[in-house]
């Protein structure tokens, strides 16, 4: 996987979220707040987002790492780390 800029990574994440929740207003998410509740992403939506991210980025998130994905920045940090590791 080629190195992705953080902006590109964020764009990909937002795309995956919008694929599940087209009406989600990701830009007005308060930073540091749990994004799933704010965007009404249930466990099924969340699973679909992870499937999509895996498809696009090749990063498979083990369930034991889910807690690191609580905030959008946390999710992007996590993916960045996994991609550069």
């Amino acid at each position: 996987m080629a190195h992705l800029s953080r902006d590109t990574l964020r764009e990909t994440v937002v795309d995956c979220i919008l694929a599940v929740a087209p009406e989600a207003d990701v830009d007005s998410l308060p930073p540091g707040r749990p994004w799933r509740e704010a965007l009404e992403i249930d466990s099924f939506d969340f699973l679909n987002i992870l499937v999509d991210l895996e498809k696009r980025l090749g990063v498979s998130v083990p369930e034991s790492d889910y807690h690191e994905l609580a905030t959008l920045d946390g999710l992007i940090d996590y993916l960045e780390r996994r991609l550069t590791a």
Binding site: P34, E37, E54, K55, S60, S64
Partner: protein, 424 residues
């Protein structure tokens, strides 16, 4: 010969608009096959037929608004003693549906407005319920395509015959049409189609919910029970199950919740059924309704068939299918009538507990809040543990608190000791 009638797909449904026939005179239909699409307040519903036979004639026309119980088509039956014809509704029982071979005038199809007869029969084994058994398209048969997809194809001037269907029985969905118009490279980036309903549809659904919930609060003397339970063992079970699996094959926690509800209902069947004509009528089989919030507003609660008999992965597959179709406005008639109890999970939206409103004529509703760390006492020590609040709202005309408590205790035990959910 029997009459295939407009089914009642909810307590307050008076009529439905026949959007499209999937069959024509002379076609052979299989029990459980989707034969037409009906527009209701709950959106477009794929309506199944409960008799195997041959289509004699179509009575209702596409676009026609048809009252519940009116004849849609006439079908020459083959199998007069089909399971689903065990009509329980005496009023609907025109003739001897259960009789040996009563000229095929079985009235099991009937569903008069005030007494929607849940028709979903218990599947004989773990194979998917008959609702999914629609045969694949055979050469020369009419193209299986959803109305939305047909409309979109017409708008795009695209011949749907060349599109590969990914829907039930190979039917072509709106998404398939959209995909067919996109270059392959764009495919991944494009949002999945979640059919955005019109404001009219929303208003109609809002009305249907209002009517059902007002009736519930007017007629049903609810009682409420609740329990906080520790889900550490259940979460450990889930994490172990999912550990080596790719994301797409993982289970989600609601699978465990639904399984626990299904098994607890087996132990307390008095909470699984309908209150009609001043009496409790038990449901056949365990098909809990799953409350699904629709994006853009509204709510549907289709039944998850045979939740007590599905192995974990089969249950996840069935739930995935149900959630996906609910959000694409592609539910089936049996799914709107089979549930004897509904499960609502609002935990993902951050609430701690739910005091539910029963969906009439059902007699109970189970509510789950969110999983969150709480102080929990274990072996005399206060520890941080992931906990969950489970609640029961039940109809006091049918059960008392003691029975409700038995159910909730059983549910709690099952979710606390997850190895009991699928005993080997």
């Amino acid at each position: 010969m029997s009459e295939f009638r407009m089914p009642s797909l909810g307590a307050d449904m008076e009529s439905g608009t026949l959007v499209e026939w999937n069959i024509q005179p002379g076609d052979r239909v299989e029990r459980g096959q989707i034969v037409c699409v009906v527009e209701t307040q709950k959106g477009a519903i794929d309506v199944e037929v409960w008799e195997t036979g041959t289509v004699e004639r179509l009575v209702a026309e596409e676009g026609q608004k048809v009252p519940v119980g009116e004849v849609l088509a006439v079908i020459l039956g083959e199998d007069k003693k089909a399971e689903g014809e065990k009509a329980e509704d005496k009023k609907a029982q025109g003739e001897t549906a259960e009789g040996e071979k009563a000229q095929g005038e079985a009235a099991g199809q009937e569903a008069p407005a005030e007494h929607p007869t849940p028709e979903a029969p218990r599947a004989p084994d773990l194979s998917p319920p008959p609702t999914t058994a629609a045969p694949d398209v055979a050469a020369g048969e009419r193209l299986r395509i959803s109305p939305a997809a047909r409309k979109r194809a017409a708008e795009l001037d695209l011949d749907p015959a060349g599109v590969r269907g990914s829907g039930v029985g190979g039917s072509i969905t709106l998404e398939d049409i959209e995909r067919a118009t996109r270059p392959a490279a764009e495919e991944q980036a494009a949002p999945s189609s979640r059919v955005v309903s019109t404001s009219d549809t929303h208003a109609a659904m809002r009305q249907a919910i209002a009517a059902a919930m007002a009736r519930s609060k007017r007629e049903i003397p609810h009682y409420y029970l609740g329990n906080t339970l520790c889900v550490e063992p259940a979460m450990a079970w889930l994490e172990a199950h999912n550990a080596e699996r790719p994301v797409a094959e993982r289970l989600i926690f609601p699978v465990l919740q639904l399984r626990a509800v299904a098994l607890a209902l087996e132990a307390v069947p008095e909470l699984n059924g309908w209150y009609r004509d001043d009496a409790f009528q038990p449901a056949e089989g365990v098909h809990p309704g799953v409350a699904i919030a629709l994006r853009g507003g509204g709510l549907v609660a289709p039944a998850l068939h045979d939740a007590d008999r599905l192995a974990p992965d089969a249950m996840m597959a069935a739930l995935r299918d149900l959630l996906t179709r609910a959000r694409q406005d592609r539910l089936r008639s049996s799914e709107l009538t089979a549930a004897g109890l509904t499960v609502t999970n609002l935990g993902d939206l951050g609430v701690e507990s739910v005091q539910g409103v029963i969906y009439p004529p059902q007699v109970a509703l189970v509510g789950f809040g969110r999983i969150a760390e709480r102080p929990w006492v274990r072996d005399g020590q206060v520890v941080a543990a992931r906990c969950l609040h489970a609640s029961l709202a039940a109809d006091h005309r049918v059960t008392d608190g003691a029975l409700g408590a038995r159910f909730l205790t059983r549910l709690t035990d099952l979710l606390t000791e997850p190895e009991r959910l699928w005993p080997t």
